[in-house]
């Protein structure tokens, strides 16, 4: 029996019926909702490729049961870039060549985005801990860390522009 579910997804209200409340947000996003920017790397919450932001927290979408999303706010990588261009975090990854194959990139971008939402001026330790939570098999992390640092700088610059 289908259960009604209402939540916010990328700043829009979503109302759907789910057959299995234990289904994962990852399968919902990539399946019925057609948002394939969120990637599946391990399906057990370990690699970070499916990182999305739920109520401000970076979480692996493969562990998030859809039945627990009622009334919550979900952001995926599709929400970051707008008509005004890329999000500062995305800009930073582009500038610093913080990707190779790009499969883990949306997850890394969302993890850094969630960190900056929580703390716009994180220290080096905080950046390292965040990047350490997501696997990348291509880069050796050097340029991902560079990107995370650059994201902090770009975020700061953009905040000053707004002021």
């Amino acid at each position: 029996m289908a259960v009604p579910l209402r939540f916010r997804l990328n700043h829009e209200d979503v109302e759907i019926h789910v057959h299995d409340p234990a289904a994962t947000l990852l399968d919902l996003l990539r399946g019925d909702l057609g948002l394939t920017g969120t990637k599946s790397g391990c399906a057990i919450g370990y690699c970070g490729a499916c990182t999305v932001i739920v109520d401000g927290e970076a979480v692996p979408a493969c562990l998030q049961m859809v039945g627990l999303l009622e009334g919550r706010e979900v952001r995926t990588v599709e929400d970051l870039a707008g008509p005004g261009g890329l999000d500062p975090v995305q800009d930073a990854f582009v500038t610093c060549a913080g990707m190779q194959c790009g499969f883990c990139t949306p997850g890394h971008v969302m993890a850094v985005r969630a960190l900056l939402d929580r703390d716009p001026d994180p220290g080096e330790e905080e950046l390292r801990r965040t990047v350490d939570g997501n696997y990348c098999r291509c880069t050796g992390y050097v340029k991902i860390l560079d990107s995370a640092r650059e994201a902090v700088a770009l975020e700061r610059a953009r905040a000053q522009e707004v002021r």
Binding site: C42, M99, F103
Partner: protein
């Protein structure tokens, strides 16, 4: 977006406008175009950060079904019966297939021994037995679980020693002694040179299975149209894969089209030796609908094609003043249940290392042995990291015995430009000695030696790699077309593809340089076996060197046509014209005082829009100036060799055996660096993978399979385990490379396990003989160093029966 521009055409304009095919030297190194050697932004960067890149699992086709595979739970068994009745009855299931639905043809890159779905026997835990296509992945998985397979379990061989034992069960009935492949040679008379040696070192070293661990797993989407199937696959090698898939499907080549999706990491693991795409095509045929089949992470571990475990017995001879005399290796490699490219890997793992030092004599005996374990195959380094680890350990022992610091010993014996190995490796450019000096300097070798820190150790290793390798017949070439568009851009049509390294960006740079266009005005195609040029794809560090040359020639050819057209349109000799910043330029005509500038697109359009108008399409090709090695692996396998020296400092906690790699310096000779951040990324990523192979990556095994085949048990290196890296590029220029460039994709991985092991030995006196170098092995090396214990002793003791797979 990049605004880098280049000028082109001044020199080319004088040449006849035809496709150049003869070998040529690159431009003088002093006049590299500005777009070469600069940090041009990746052409696909925005797609990747926004999640818009379409990887294998992102393909969506109307009416598409999802597949799931039933795999053997046994290492070796006879299939008694397969009952698919319950699965077929499950609502949402559209096709169930078994071996009976296949063409019953064995396939494989070199030694066909693999069925698409098992017919009567399974040979490893993970072997494909049946498959299902259903409306969604969950239903497909549920249906797969409803398939009842009755097995009669057979005795299995789960280690090299079991496989080699007298009377051992045979993995394949036609492989006597479980021998899949064997070769050997004695070049230069090894025995005589050992007799004349003052110092001889010897030992046994073994590697273990390492998985590619691409974050994207292998996947395919198949759709039939009448009697043709299109496969959208995340393969590194679309054209080679097509050949094999057609064989496996029992189809003529023309019935299979392969299109490359975005590829989420390759490292050799997506080079078309596994059954996933074949099964996907069979499901799509039977269901009459498009089918997508993507490996789970567990399947990637159970049925991928990981690095081949290799056991080397190494013997090296030296004169008392440190000149190497002879090298003798006896190599046994664990093929697993099916062969794939392991046979070719065995070749590289045996001979390549001999192109590194001036050996007087080299002898080898190499065997590839079937076991009832997951099949092995190509993995970044292609045998080289295993050779570098085993032979590198012997070199490190020799340095200690000779009382010569490793960098100095390497400098005494290293090859140079002009060197020729016993196997006819002809070294053109070579800055190995520069690399050794720079790596030593970068890590502060002599300063650290002068003031040693307790429990810290220092080590150096070197390696050589190819830029393309003649493996699949007597051709290692590439070809390309460059079409100039009437809106002033260049569309490069080439079948090599992109697996994440940035190949499409460097090929765009080369095109931009030759045509005087902005990189942003160049597009590079994805491989499509119906539409693009034939290409061998991303393997053997070949794309920059081989395809770079082909694309450069195609762009030159297009430029010549462009200037010819502009010459006719402007009534000026072509030799007076050149292209820069997207415009064709000419100096003021006689009697005029303003120069002429015409946009490229205007010239192209004018050439087309006239009676009998012509498109501008340049073609170019390049074949690696190499030789197809013979059965005993004699032959110059590549036209250009790249080199590296790496030094590491580690710290060992003697109380626990835990090792921390503090610092790692890499000095790489890859010729001209076309795009520094991309080249650095190759080196940094390769080092990370090498550290995984050295330290973190292993499984616990039971009954022929990893007990928990997932990322929790199998630890890829994270940001937290990365040491401080110093990455440098040698001042180097390869005369046959595009703008002097050579390959760089694999080289930096090769020495890592060896230098970590040597640095541990330097720190605490424990030399590990089997990868990975775990805290446990080091601890027992320190605290219980009797013979046979893990990590015990520098003696060439018999290989200890420990580690995995058990």
């Amino acid at each position: 977006m990049s605004t880098a521009h280049a000028s082109a055409g001044r020199a080319a304009a004088a040449d006849a406008p035809q496709a150049p095919v003869a070998p040529e030297l690159s431009l003088d190194r002093a006049v590299l175009p500005p777009v070469i050697g600069t940090a041009v932004q990746r052409v696909d960067a925005v797609e990747k950060v926004t999640g818009r890149s379409a990887f294998a699992g992102d393909v969506r086709i109307p009416r598409m079904l999802h597949g799931a595979v039933v795999r053997s739970p046994h290492a070796h068994a006879r299939i008694v019966s397969v009952d698919t009745t319950l699965a077929e009855r499950l609502p949402g299931v559209h096709a169930v297939v078994t071996g009976a639905d296949t063409a019953r043809i064995k396939w494989g890159a070199f030694r066909p021994d693999l069925y698409p779905l098992a017919l009567d026997r399974v040979r490893y835990v993970g072997d494909e037995v049946a498959a299902v296509a259903a409306t969604d992945p969950e239903t497909a998985r549920r249906a797969a679980e409803l398939i009842r397979v009755e097995y009669e379990v057979l005795p299995a061989v789960l280690t090299l020693d079991e496989a080699l034992a007298e009377g051992a069960p045979l993995v394949h009935d036609d492989a006597v002694g479980n021998l899949a492949h064997e070769f050997g040679y004695d070049r230069g008379g090894a025995d005589a040179w050992f007799e004349r040696s003052d110092v001889i070192v010897e030992g046994v070293w073994q590697t273990t299975r390492q998985w590619h661990g691409s974050i994207e797993t292998i996947g395919c989407t198949a759709e039939w149209s009448q009697d043709r199937v299109t496969l959208w696959v995340n393969t590194q090698t679309p054209f080679l894969a097509r050949q094999r898939y057609a064989t496996a499907l029992g189809l003529p080549l023309r019935a299979v089209r392969v299109v490359q999706t975005e590829v989420g990491g390759g490292f050799g693991g997506k080079s078309g030796d596994d059954n996933t795409s074949v099964i996907c095509a069979i499901l799509a045929r039977k269901s009459g609908r498009p089918v997508q089949l993507v490996n789970t992470r567990e399947e990637e571990f159970l049925a991928g094609r990981p690095r081949i475990p290799m056991r080397y017995r190494v013997r090296l001879g030296f004169t008392s003043d440190g000149l190497v005399t002879a090298k003798d290796i006896d190599l046994i490699a664990d093929n697993g249940a099916y062969t794939g490219k392991a046979q070719a890997v065995l070749g590289a793992a045996t001979v390549r290392h001999d192109a590194l030092f001036n050996y007087r004599a080299v002898r080898a005996h190499s065997r590839l042995i079937y076991t009832n374990l997951v099949p092995t195959g190509a993995f970044r380094g292609f045998g080289n990291p295993s050779a570098d680890w085993a032979v590198g350990q012997a070199w490190d022992l020799a340095a200690a015995r000779l009382g010569i610091e490793p960098p100095d010993l390497f400098l005494l014996n290293a090859v140079e430009a002009g060197s020729v190995s016993a196997h006819n490796h002809r070294i053109s450019s070579c800055e190995l000695k520069q690399c050794i000096r720079r790596a030593a300097e970068a890590i502060g070798w002599y300063e650290k030696r002068a003031a040693p820190t307790p429990n810290r150790g220092l080590a150096m290793g070197v390696s050589v790699h190819v830029s393309g390798r003649r493996s699949f017949g007597d051709y290692d070439g590439s070809s390309a077309m460059v079409r100039l568009t009437e809106d002033g851009r260049a569309a490069v049509i080439v079948g090599e593809g992109e697996i994440g390294t940035g190949a499409r960006t460097t090929l765009a740079q080369i095109t931009a340089a030759e045509l005087g266009l902005a990189v942003a005005d160049v597009t590079v195609s994805r491989p499509d076996t119906d539409l693009t040029t034939h290409a061998l794809g991303a393997l053997a560090s070949r794309v920059t060197y081989v395809a770079g040359n082909a694309v450069r020639r195609a762009a030159k050819h297009a430029c010549e046509q462009l200037l010819g057209a502009a010459s006719r349109q402007l009534g000026r000799p072509a030799a007076e014209l050149w292209v820069e910043d997207g415009m064709v330029h000419a100096p003021p005509a006689a009697g005029e005082d303003t120069p002429v500038h015409v946009p490229v697109g205007v010239v192209v359009r004018a050439e087309l829009y006239r009676p009998n108008g012509q498109p501008i399409v340049g073609i170019g090709s390049f074949d690696n100036p190499s030789e197809f090695p013979d059965q005993a692996r004699f032959g110059n396998e590549s036209g250009a060799y790249n080199f590296v020296a790496e030094a590491a400092e580690v710290e060992v906690d003697p109380a626990t055996g835990a090792v921390t790699v503090l610092e790692l310096a890499a000095a790489v000779d890859c010729g001209t660096v076309l795009n520094p951040p991309l080249a650095q990324g190759q080196v940094e990523g390769a080092i990370a993978q090498g550290l995984g192979m050295a330290i973190t990556e292993r499984f616990d095994w039971a009954d022929g399979a990893p007990t928990r085949p997932n990322f929790v048990d199998y630890k890829l290196p994270t940001a937290g385990v990365m040491p401080t890296l110093h990455v440098e590029f040698a001042d180097s220029y390869e005369p046959t490379g595009p703008y002097g460039a050579k390959g760089v994709g694999e080289i930096a991985l090769d020495p890592v396990p060896s230098i970590v092991a040597s640095a541990v030995a330097d720190a605490v006196g424990v030399r590990i003989h089997e990868l990975p170098i775990t805290a446990e092995k080091i601890y027992w090396g320190i605290h219980r160093p009797e013979p046979g214990a893990p990590g015990a002793a520098d003696d060439p003791a018999e290989f200890p029966e420990q580690g995995n797979p058990r």
